[in-house]
Amino acid sequence: MFKRSIILLLLIGFPLSSIAGGEYIKPNDFIQQTFADDSIKAHALWLTPSQQTDIKKILAHDFKKLRIRYWQNKHTSAWILNEVGKEKPITFGVVIKNAEINNIQVLSFRESRGSEIRHDFFTHQFKQAKLNHALQLTQHIDGISGATLSVRAMTKIARIALYLDQQIRNKK
């Protein structure tokens, strides 16, 4: 009887742990972890109308900000970006190195479902992905059933981070 109760509790508890959201890593910690430098400063990319249009195209909805913060050293740039999964914004941290995704992480997840996208088995698919001329990722990303909208949000953010990295490199 006791064993059965334990198994039942585990079965009940497992799906709850898999859907729970929260703040996994603070933005400052993500930046410091990426650059291993406490004194790194944020820069701003002011968006031109054509860049805003491209971002809207990737997001497939309106985008209102006029500038975006980023952190950068020689070949690496880091971006902290938000995108709504189903109803609430998910905060992502993306590191681009030599125009490829080096790391993508979920910093905060506020939705009730779909937080499985934070796990390494999923985020590893984005490693070394680049952006093609159609502003699509060069790698196929397998979805997760039950987390379609979160997967879509992460894919869009990966494309936007690669696009923005292109823009700051072109500017130089």
């Binding site: 933005p27 900000k65 006029l66």
Partner: protein, 254 residues
């Protein structure tokens, strides 16, 4: 001595009494039911009811009083999770509006965790999370530098681009303070908060189900349904009784 006649058809009496009692409810249920059957044709979901009494009845109103901060030429107000730039919706957020300052040609607004930079036309220039270990309490200006005070009493000063914030030592300065909201703006925001109003379909559905009177209303409509069942059975029983009686009478006469 008065002679008491035994009532021969108590079911008939109950049938009549309950029938009269239910006339009003049957009319309501039948008419709302017919309307709901033709929701698309009647475009019930597209017709919005903005009547103040109805919206109040449905308790469509903010849960908390508005918070308002005034910049040089604009009001930025929060009502529950809705934040407005004058009477235009700016964003929805669970964070609390903590203050704003006019700085050069922009407005720096702070929520409990985020810094939001706005143009004087109300466009969002940038928004990012600043408070990661505590919450933002106030914003003010010292020597032309925006300063933020956290709930843990630490002070942070922005650089010229409002991109990086550095901790600074204690100092005295006046913080952005909330101001009372003007009545006309409050009325406009209340209208915005309530949105386009309630779809007529919802109201008719609630009348039909009794939910318009709360959970007791649902039980009342259930009771009306039970009485209608009784009326149909008592009606059929009375018709049968009368038919049997007429047959017997015909036999006797024949």
């Amino acid at each position: 001595m008065t002679r008491h006649h035994k009532k021969k058809f108590p079911a008939f009496l109950w049938h009549r009494r309950l029938g009269l009692f239910l006339v009003f409810f049957i009319i309501i249920l039948a008419s709302t039911g017919i309307m709901l059957n033709h929701t698309e044709t009647l475009k019930l979901s597209q017709q919005k009811i903005n009547n103040v009494l109805v919206l109040n009845f449905y308790d469509i109103k903010p849960q908390h009083p508005p918070i308002n901060f005034r910049s040089q030429h604009h009001n930025i107000s929060q009502w529950d999770e809705q934040i407005y730039f004058d009477n235009k919706k700016l964003l929805s957020d669970q964070q609390t509006l903590r203050g704003l300052i006019n700085w050069h040609n922009i407005i720096i607004m702070v929520l409990s965790r985020d810094v939001v930079l706005l143009s004087n036309e109300g466009d969002i220039i940038d928004r990012y999370t600043l408070a990661q270990n505590s919450e933002i309490e106030h914003i003010g200006i010292d020597n032309d530098h925006p300063i933020i005070k956290m709930l843990d009493q630490s002070l942070w000063q922005a650089d010229d681009d409002i991109l990086n914030w550095q901790p600074i030592g204690k100092r005295q300065l006046s913080w952005s303070a909330a101001s009372p909201i003007q009545q006309h703006l409050k009325n406009e925001l209340l209208e915005k908060y309530r949105g386009e109003g309630l779809p007529l379909e919802r109201i008719i559905l609630d009348i039909h189900s009794g939910r318009i009177l709360g959970s007791l209303g649902v039980y009342f409509v259930d009771a009306v349904g039970v009485v209608m069942l009784f009326l149909s059975l008592s009606g059929a029983w009375m018709w049968w009784q009368r038919r049997v009686k007429q047959r017997r009478k015909r036999k006797r006469q024949g």
